[in-house]
Amino acid sequence: MMDAMGIFFRSIFIDNMVFAYFLGMCSFLAVSKNVKTSFGLGVAVTVVLLITVPVNYLLDKYVLSAGALSWLNPAFADVSLDFLTFILFIAIIAVIVQILEMVIEKYSPALYNSLGIFLPLIAVNCAILGASLFMQEKNFSSVGQSVAYGLGSGLGWLLAIVGIAAIREKIRYSKIPRRLQGTGIAFIITGLMGIAFMAFLGISFS
């Protein structure tokens, strides 16, 4: 249990998707112009990560990794479907996003109106696939840990995008060199926020 807590906080602050790995930067920079839409996208990313990471964890554990198929038949013990990782992960993500979109549209039109437009974007958000691939690399030992990782990564991403959106709203009327306006300054702010986040590096969870 403590393990899961550690993973959770680690993935929010230290291994932050945006500041440590630059994942999800495309939508991060494109959408972070105002706080409200960034919050919507952040929530959508968190929800999708919370579902896809554990599903991909199970897929990895029981289908893909070396010897994983032995529950089906002991003869498969040395079969490894490792090379199919990318294609299956991305297919799972696309399917889950599609299902989620349909479910939300059916049961909560209000939520769909505020969140729905972001969902198709999310299927190709690098943070989603990235989290699944990192999950595979980290060799978690239980589903609980992968849930904690998915949720933490999503919240970390949410924190980052809301933070930068707030700063961008504030600096809209500041005097910035003209060529640096818009994306240029957004890059530099993200860099500075990343340096600030490195202060968390010293914290250890055990």
Binding site: A30, A94, L129, F134
Partner: protein
Amino acid sequence: MSKTINLITAPLSKANPVTVLILGICSALAVTAKLKPAIVMALSVTVVTALSNLIISLLRKGIPSKIRIIVQLIVVATLVILVDQFLKAFMYDVSKQLSVFVGLIITNCIVMGRLEAFAMGHKPLESLLDGIGNGLGYGSILVIVAFFRELFGSGTLLGYQVIPQGLYDFGYINNGLMILPPMALIIIGIIIWLQKPEEDSK
């Protein structure tokens, strides 16, 4: 003819996918701390964009528009698996350094963006050139960033010592900050600053 050449040269400068269109930053900045992985990454992305553009352009009349995203993802994912297996077989150490970032080429916005914006509506040859151009445009930024980060961060280029020992004796110290991930963003910010044309009409 000049139009064809333009397909390759435009993405290198005024339509650069990274600095002008702000696409594809996601998967790659973490690999620019050293020059060598950056070059490998640039070549991998170029191969994937070029071939996926070609394949989608060949298939474009047969793809129903409702499921086009899935079809595109499958084509891209297959190409990325090929690249990944190739790297693992022939350049194992580099593929270890790149770790998950090879896989993340799948969700690189440049690849999907070009498929949607160009390959779905153009002939195969043009799409191939467009893919090569965009891959190189992306790669050029990657290499520039990696060049500065490795030069100032480690004092080396491609692993060879460039900054002479005399300078260190004189009190020169490598800038450890350049190795840290956030500096990549700041360098790109500066490249955008230098590249953006002055808009006088504003």
